[in-house]
């Protein structure tokens, strides 16, 4: 880690390089006009560790998606496991890193959406000359409501932390590739905790790669204490609440296909939640 800090101090304009799958998939990637200085984060061993403590699972930012999947369904939240599996083939997942996937500059991918739904935290290190500032942030503070990354140039994500509480129900859907179709792709990540058919926590995150990363704040309060299965009017209320917040949060006009998909996915998630709660009776 000291080598990383000294390298970023000596080369303040260098690009932090994780797996490289996002950077190199840009159409104008090579030849580059920017500085060719690269700080390859895979050379830092601390960033490649997966650590399990009593309370948390800590994942280094250079852990690849494929490595994380080998940890297994017993340890990873179901929502995270599904998100990683659906992020591409094994060939690509061996190169995609957790840190790289949450720190893409221009587009949001599916992993941040699911980590937001799981209330993950991230550790960042900021290299300020001889000093280094380290802090843990709620995942939501890494982006604004339009999904724009708020990391400073000399700031790097080093670890991601998840609590061990496991959701009873999770739902992830993203049928298209955000790199190929950023203006048509929608991510929906949903984690619900319920006890004896009463909802305790209801976390939903909707993402559009170029314009939105939203966790509707009032939804959790609105649904807390609600009895499952949800009625048609309750489902309609959830969908309406989410869509109103989506429209209020975006700065630009959203393509109708994204709005329609978001609406459909939220409704579908509620029906799946009902189906599971009924099957447990």
């Amino acid at each position: 880690m000291n080598d990383l800090i000294s390298a970023s101090t000596r080369f303040p304009n260098a690009t932090f390089w994780a797996g490289g799958t996002y950077i190199m998939s840009r159409p104008d990637y090579y030849p580059t006009k920017d500085s060719n200085d690269i700080i390859y984060l895979a050379e830092v061993p601390e960033l490649k560790r997966i650590n399990r403590t009593d309370r948390f699972l800590e994942i280094g930012s250079m852990v690849t998606f494929e490595q994380l999947l080998t940890v297994g369904k017993q340890v990873l939240p179901g929502l995270l496991h599904t998100t990683l599996e659906r992020s591409g083939t094994m060939i690509v997942r061996r190169q995609m890193t957790t840190g790289g996937a949450i720190c893409t500059r221009d587009l949001r991918l599916s992993l941040p959406c699911s980590l937001l739904a799981l209330q993950a935290e991230v550790e960042t290190k900021t290299c300020l000359g001889p000093k280094t500032e380290t802090k843990w942030l709620d995942m939501g503070r890494l982006y604004d409501r339009q999904g724009r990354l708020q990391l400073k140039r000399n700031e790097v994500v080093t670890r991601i932390r998840l609590g061990f509480e496991r959701e009873n129900f999770s739902y992830f859907i993203s049928p298209t590739n955000p790199l190929a179709n950023p203006h048509e792709t929608v991510f929906l990540s949903f984690a619900c905790f319920y006890n004896q058919a009463v909802i305790n926590r209801f976390r939903l995150c909707v993402g559009f790669p170029t314009s939105l990363l939203l966790v509707p704040q009032e939804l959790d309060m609105m649904m807390h204490g609600t009895l499952l299965p949800l009625s048609s009017s309750q489902i309609e209320r959830v969908v309406r609440s989410v869509m109103e917040e989506v429209l209020a949060s975006t700065e630009h006009e959203i393509p109708p296909i994204q709005l329609e998909r978001a609406r459909g996915f939220v409704e579908s998630a509620m029906h799946e939640l009902n189906a599971q709660s009924l099957s447990e009776r």
Binding site: M24, S25, T32, T89, V92
Partner: protein, 170 residues
């Protein structure tokens, strides 16, 4: 940047930009014929090579990652004994990829066969590729010339030859 690596069993010292993609290195520096990369952004799946025995999209591998690595393109793979397992599998099943994606799909099959070898060598049998994994991995190359059943038949046939080869070694 000077990079030492092995490409198709030839030890090379390349002088390239550190961020140059591997597929461009293979096309420009080595004039590799079997590198019909069309999209240059990881979507077509045609630029597969084996990097340290694992299939990778060469358009997503920067030059600096090649330091000390072994790269095997399809041209180099055809000179290995493992290629015969794939040849025989294609013959036995009567199915094979079309000329456009032949190299890429063959190397993906080889990468999956390596998983069998590793899973049988170690204790973890759950590393052996499942049906879903095989179809999904081969589907990384979007050419629709092979359907799912053909992919599975080819893989099973090649896997039998590969297992027999391992038994003969002992």
């Amino acid at each position: 940047m000077k990079i030492e690596c092995t490409i198709d069993n030839k030890h090379l010292l390349l002088t390239v930009n550190s961020n140059k993609p591997l597929n461009l290195i293979l096309m420009d520096e080595l004039e590799t014929a079997a590198m019909p990369s069309r999209c240059r952004d990881g979507h077509c799946g045609n630029c597969i090579v084996l990097l340290n025995e694992e299939a990778v999209l060469s358009c997503l591998i920067p030059a600096f990652r090649l330091k000390g690595s072994k790269v095997l393109t399809f041209e180099g793979y055809r000179k290995t004994r493992f290629w015969h397992d794939m040849e025989r599998a294609y013959e036995d099943t009567g199915s094979h990829p079309c000329p456009h994606c032949y190299a890429s799909k063959t190397l993906i099959f080889e990468s999956l066969l390596q998983m069998i070898v590793k899973s049988e060598a170690g204790a973890r049998h759950d590393e052996e590729p499942t049906t879903e994994t095989i179809v999904r991995e081969i589907g990384l190359n979007r050419c629709p010339c092979l359907d799912a059943n053909e992919m599975l038949d080819i893989f099973r046939s090649a896997a039998n030859y590969r297992r027999r080869r391992r038994v003969r070694r002992y």
